[in-house]
């Protein structure tokens, strides 16, 4: 795409603009909870950022594994004996904390170490930095294609192997 304005226009308009912060976005929750107003803890935001990044990685991983096996959400939920609704939340909501039961079931079903999935889900306090970095990298460069290419499969297998290695470390 191209930008349909010139720098001459920009300079002219910026100099005439009043001092107003120009923003747009979602509404504020009624209790302000999503603003983190209740807690005066400057360390907390950095940690919650890490947790959200890990959960994004978890959601990508679960979606990829499911599609690798050619399963719908309902089918995977049935086979892994977990709630379909909860599985959908894990796949799409990085702010959702999965219950230990679901993590345990997915760990068994996909043969991924429980300690790795627990860290990604945020159900443990400990965070392995290498696992974190690999998770962020994998999530950032994964394409969500309906049918997985061989390259995609190799990337998925390599990431799963990393999770197994880290669990042993």
């Amino acid at each position: 795409m191209k930008l349909h304005f010139t720098n001459d226009w920009l300079q002219r308009k910026i100099s005439a603009d009043p001092d107003v912060d120009i923003e747009a976005g979602p509404a504020i929750d009624s209790d302000g909870a999503h603003l983190g107003l209740a807690h005066v803890d400057n360390a907390a935001p950095a940690e919650s950022r890490t947790r959200v990044q890990l959960r994004v990685g978890l959601s990508v991983l679960v979606r990829k594994l499911r599609r690798r096996d050619g399963l719908s959400v309902a089918e995977l939920a049935r086979r892994a004996d977990v709630s379909e609704e909860e599985l959908r939340q894990v796949e799409h909501d990085p702010h959702y904390t999965a219950r230990p039961h679901l993590i345990h079931q997915l760990s068994n079903y996909f043969s991924i170490p429980l300690v790795a999935l627990s860290q990604m889900a945020g159900t443990t306090d400990e965070i392995d930095r290498v696992l974190y970095n690999e998770t962020v990298r994998y999530a950032a460069y994964s394409d969500d294609l309906e049918t997985m290419s061989n390259e995609e499969r190799r990337a998925l297998d390599a990431f799963v192997a990393t999770l197994v290695d880290r669990a042993k470390a």
Binding site: S72, V73, A74, E84, R88, E91, H92
Partner: protein, 69 residues
């Protein structure tokens, strides 16, 4: 951005529809096809995740589920 080309074979009926939609929406045929892709991905993503997609008639609040064939 890299671009790739494809030749699209459409029936007379499909081509007429494409012409009509492009004209009525005030878009080029290419822009219309791109927009159709976006909407299709958006709807099918939801359906694949088990969500349901509905159409609502404001006057009666009657809801009909959008079924994908």
């Amino acid at each position: 951005m890299d671009r790739r080309q494809m030749t699209l074979m459409l029936s007379d009926k499909e081509m007429t529809l494409l012409d009509q939609l492009a004209a009525s929406r005030g878009m080029s045929k290419t822009a219309l096809v791109r927009q159709a892709l976006r909407l299709y991905q958006s709807v099918t993503e939801r359906l694949e995740n088990g969500d349901k997609v509905f159409v609502e008639r404001p006057s009666t609040l009657e809801k009909t589920e959008l079924m994908m064939l």
